[in-house]
């Protein structure tokens, strides 16, 4: 039998049996809804409804209700789009990349991180789709035979690549997530007594019975899906960055964008995972499964990706001067000293300086501090996209092309609204879905559970 080094911190604390894991994780599904959950859901759905109201007003009136103008024609919408897509990346990184690297600690958080991915990508998709204006013809982005003579989308365009990247990313993440859920739905199905709910989970579990051959296939599918999702996650944010990098706008036209965007995405995504998981472990009593070690690992990822992002900021700045291109260097001087300098410095503080505090073990193992940091990082990453997008285009080559951007209440309402929709979905997920991958966690219990590790140390090999 495989044994883990006693030096490694156990991943499941206390003495848990397989049955305890099922009990602990199925408890929120089988029990009555908490008061806190009901209050949170009410608040989230009110915010979500406000966001939906803003969307309806936008569709009814036109994109003019946003603060966009002739000069700044991409602003909050694309900022929010990139922000949400970036958040989504952590889920795939945890479930796919960490699976390939055989990181067992991912098993406690992969399910909720993947759910976060799916909901975040959905929120991201709202922005470009509604930015099209005539949203009912959104399907024109697909190469469908049509009566317009025949008109095809332009496959040379980065925006077209994005359509393919985002839709592939969304559907593949959804399938990956759902396939992992099937055996856990089967566990819930076999535990429930109430026939109506048993029927629901019976349909959701697709009749999974845990046969040996099915498990072999299941593991193969997980591995191959992780294998294809890994380059996929890197390609998606690279392609998002190419929306900017393939243009000729100073401040956007840089080859550093793909790696810089990908690490920024992982950085913000891990921060969002921490925000969600820290609340979840407390309210759903999952402290034995998601504990300080898991949080510390995630904080280490935040230091690494935050530092990569910091290096990218400084490289950009240096290259803009070193290139000798005056438009390029002006774009960056304008960033840190122009009218939107406050946004630039906000981004610098939140993304470059604050994650460095995690070098202190005391701070990165402090849950309250981590929670505050996770929110700071997400604010910083929102400003990063805002700085890149708005400060680059509000100053054009000639001063007559200079403009300003002011967000309208609909801009703000739609953004807040997507946060509401996101949390509504996540709360529904937390109530009706197994938030930790039961079958995966059980498979590591005997090697990484605290009491079993102690037992293994005392018994000879």
């Amino acid at each position: 039998m495989y044994r883990e080094s006693p030096v490694r911190t156990p991943l499941v604390l206390g003495h848990k049996t397989y049955h305890d894991i099922s009990n602990d994780i199925c408890a929120p599904i089988e029990g009555k809804a908490h008061r806190q959950w009901k209050i949170a859901l009410t608040i989230a759905s009110i915010v979500a409804l406000y966001g939906i109201g803003c969307i309806l007003y936008l569709v009814g009136t036109g994109v003019g209700v946003w603060g966009l103008n002739n000069q700044v024609d991409w602003a909050w919408d694309i900022t929010n789009f990139v922000w949400w897509i970036g958040i989504g990346h952590a889920g795939t990184l945890i479930s796919a990349v960490l699976l390939l690297f055989r990181q067992r600690w991912r098993m406690a958080i992969n399910r909720s991180a993947e759910a976060m991915t799916i909901f975040a990508v959905l929120m991201a998709a709202i922005f470009p789709v509604f930015h099209m204006g005539r949203v009912w013809v959104a399907f024109w982005t697909l190469p469908l035979p049509n009566t317009l003579g025949t008109l095809w989308p332009n496959f040379n365009s980065a925006l077209m690549w994005d359509v393919f990247a985002i839709s592939t990313y969304f559907t593949v993440s959804l399938v990956f997530w759902y396939l992992g859920l099937i055996p856990d739905f089967a566990t819930i199905r076999d535990r429930l007594v109430k026939p109506s709910w048993k029927r629901v989970y019976s349909i959701l579990s697709f009749g999974w019975s845990g046969r040996a051959k099915h498990w072999t296939r299941f593991e193969e599918v997980s591995l191959v899906l992780a294998g294809v999702a890994t380059p996929l996650v890197f390609s998606v944010h690279s392609i998002v960055s190419m929306d900017f990098a393939t243009s000729v706008v100073p401040g956007w036209h840089t080859t550093i964008f793909p790696p810089y965007f990908v690490s920024g995405a992982i950085f913000s995504g891990f921060a969002m995972v921490l925000t969600l998981v820290l609340i979840m472990r407390k309210t759903m009593r999952l402290e034995a499964y998601i504990h300080v070690k898991h949080v510390e690992y995630m904080n280490i990822v935040i230091i690494v990706t935050g530092s990569i992002v910091g290096v990218a900021y400084l490289t950009e700045l240096f290259i803009s001067w070193y290139s000798g291109v005056e438009y390029e260097s002006y774009a960056f001087i304008n960033r840190f000293s122009g009218p939107l300098a406050w946004a630039y410095w906000c981004m610098m503080t939140c993304n470059v300086i604050s994650p460095q505090l995690f070098w202190f073990k005391k701070l990165r193992t402090n849950l309250a501090f981590t929670f505050i940091m996770s929110i700071i990082v997400n604010i910083g990453m929102w400003f990063e996209r805002f700085v890149i997008i708005v400060t680059s285009i509000h100053r054009s080559y000639i001063p007559s092309g200079w403009g300003e951007f002011k967000a309208t209440s609909i801009d703000i309402g739609l953004f807040i609204g997507t946060i509401g929709i996101f949390f509504t979905m996540f709360l529904i997920f937390a109530r009706f879905f197994p938030v930790i991958a039961l079958n995966e966690l059980k498979s590591i219990l005997k090697t990484s559970g605290e009491s079993y590790k102690k037992q293994n140390e005392t018994t000879p090999h």
């Binding site: 039998m1 049996t17 397989y18 049955h19 099922s22 190469p143 025949t150 095809w152 989308p153 332009n154 496959f155 040379n156 365009s157 077209m160 690549w161 393919f164 990247a165 839709s167 592939t168 559907t171 593949v172 399938v175 990956f176 396939l179 099937i182 055996p183 089967a186 566990t187 076999d190 019976s202 959701l204 579990s205 697709f206 009749g207 999974w208 019975s209 845990g210 046969r211 040996a212 051959k213 099915h214 498990w215 072999t216 296939r217 299941f218 593991e219 193969e220 599918v221 591995l223 191959v224 899906l225 294809v228 380059p231 390609s235 392609i239 039961l438 079958n439 995966e440 059980k442 005997k446």
Partner: protein, 178 residues
Amino acid sequence: MANKVIHAMYDDEQKLLEAARSLVAKGVRVKEVYSPFPIHGLDPVIGIKRTRLAICAFLYATTGTTLAILGTWYFMVSDWGGINIGGKPNFVWYENAPAFVPVIFEFSVFCAAHGMALTFLLRNGTLPGMPATNPDPRTTDDKFVMEITTEQNPGFPAQDIEDLLQPTGMYELSIKDN
């Protein structure tokens, strides 16, 4: 002789694995194992071959690649006759191929992932509305069941199999007529 189905239940995957090893060594065929999570090392013991799903995924991916290459060629080069967008004409496919790489890659991944997932579900017979076939609801929680049939083991009457199973540390044993 009526077929008898023997279900030996264990509370630990290692015990089941040992039991399966000892029975197979004595020539008994194990029909099926139901478990709440994959038991590593079990497949070769009970004679399960390596799955070929990964090969399927590769074939789906190459199909995707081919379709995407054909598509970009048809839309951009053939049907539009080398349309010139932003000073970048599309007269021949390979000159613009770098611009098509993202779409070709994404479409290959799309086909590989969905093709494989569908094949997995169809091949398993796990589809919406299918009934569960595990012999005991506890096998999706914390118990492991080994299924042996007398039909598959003509040389062993049910009593013999039971005798062989007795020393393996079972949690429960049930023998049913089928």
